[in-house]
């Protein structure tokens, strides 16, 4: 009986739950960034917990590079988010709208900021990977 009412409640509430974070296919690229930001954030917290347990612990060569990807993505996209939250690159409210006006906050300067964040991510991740895979092993 209990299970049945829970089952009913699940459908009646119609909440997407965690799968809602990743339902990005039909939306704009910001939605992918949102999903990736969530995952990388959670992974960073997990790593930091392990890191607290033993500060000397490092996952090792390739995993270090992966950690780099996670951290640098979160940094680059984080910069984009901070800029947006400070009101940069989201445009000004319109006084005149076209018929079926598209939002200026995502189709204006924000487009360039997204590209900038992605380029920054690739550059930072490459530098990190270079250190993790080439410089670190050389130094032993």
């Amino acid at each position: 009986m209990e299970a049945e009412s829970e089952f009913k409640e699940y459908y009646a509430k119609n909440m997407r739950g965690i799968s809602g974070w990743f339902k990005a296919r039909v939306y704009t690229i910001e939605r992918w960034l949102y999903a990736a930001h969530r995952i990388t954030g959670i992974l960073i917290v997990l790593f930091v917990l392990a890191h607290f347990y033993s500060t000397g612990w490092h996952p090792g060569l390739w995993w270090d590079a992966l950690l780099g990807i996670i951290v640098t993505f979160h940094t680059a996209n984080g910069i984009r988010l901070i800029l947006a939250e400070l009101g940069f690159a989201v445009g000004k409210p319109l006084l005149i709208k076209k018929p079926s006006q598209r939002p200026v906050s995502i189709e204006g300067v924000q487009r360039y900021v997204v590209v900038f964040a992605l380029v920054l991510f690739v550059v930072l991740a490459a530098i990190w990977a270079y250190y993790a895979l080439v410089v670190q092993p050389m130094m032993g």
């Binding site: 049945e4 089952f7 009913k8 459908y11 009646a12 509430k13 119609n14 909440m15 997407r16 739950g17 965690i18 799968s19 809602g20 974070w21 339902k23 296919r25 039909v26 939306y27 704009t28 910001e30 939605r31 960034l33 949102y34 999903a35 930001h37 988010l81 947006a84 939250e85 400070l86 009101g87 989201v90 445009g91 000004k92 409210p93 319109l94 006084l95 709208k97 076209k98 079926s100 006006q101 598209r102 939002p103 200026v104 906050s105 995502i106 924000q110």
Partner: protein, 290 residues
Amino acid sequence: MASEEAKEYVLPPEVLEETMKASEELWKPVRKIKFRIYKYNPRKDYAPYWEEHELEVSRGMTVLDALLIIKGEADHSLGLRYSCRMGLCGSCAMMINGKQMLACQTRVLEAAGSGDVVELRPLDNFPVERDLAADFTSFFEKHRAVKPWIIRNDDVELNNPTGPYKQTVDEYARYYQFTDCIKCGACLSACPTAATDYEYLGPQALAQAYRYIVDTRDNGLDVRISVVDTEHGCWRCHFAASCSDVCPRGVDPAQGIQLLKKLLIKRKFGFKPHKPAEALPAKVKAEKKG
């Protein structure tokens, strides 16, 4: 003039013919589309199920038109909500092929694209009322929570106005965009934060909070801050911008929320909000009369 008989205006025959042809073209059935419709009555059914209907659609037919045909001819029990049929009332938002859209503003062929199936579901992240109709109780409560009306301290003037409040076009431009909201719920439904946080105020309510806060006639910043500057308020938004993407009215709530955050940050650094606009003396009118 009065004696002259009003002539009935007749379209020139070639224009009439062209118009008839265009309208025929628009309403001529062109393709068979399969509609997959979500059926669920939480008071009766154990689980939702899908119903399929096939319909010959024309180029001009909207999803709402198709639904009404289905309701009239095939399944009278189909539950849906609509009112204006022209994108003004915000009743008919639903998931059309997985994306929040107004049924009355979306043409079937546009939704179907190159495929021939249109899948209709009630709005995500809203409780189901029945079939395609969602329950908006909590959505409206969230809207009410941000006090979407002009708040002022001068009760005397507010209750017995002596003239209109002063406002320039530039000041008007700060919030005009957000006044177009029709409370269709598409934005809250699309928001990934709302998918897991039931109490998140949501893009609609937050954009309206911003709309009133920057209105120069309003003096309610402090009252509203206790609502928006909270755990379930504007800091929950991480600019996925899906709300702006789906908004059928170009309200751009994501922009409003970011600007709201900016305002809150500025305020933490000592920024003073605008002084509420004064009432213009109604003298101007009186003088003209005299």
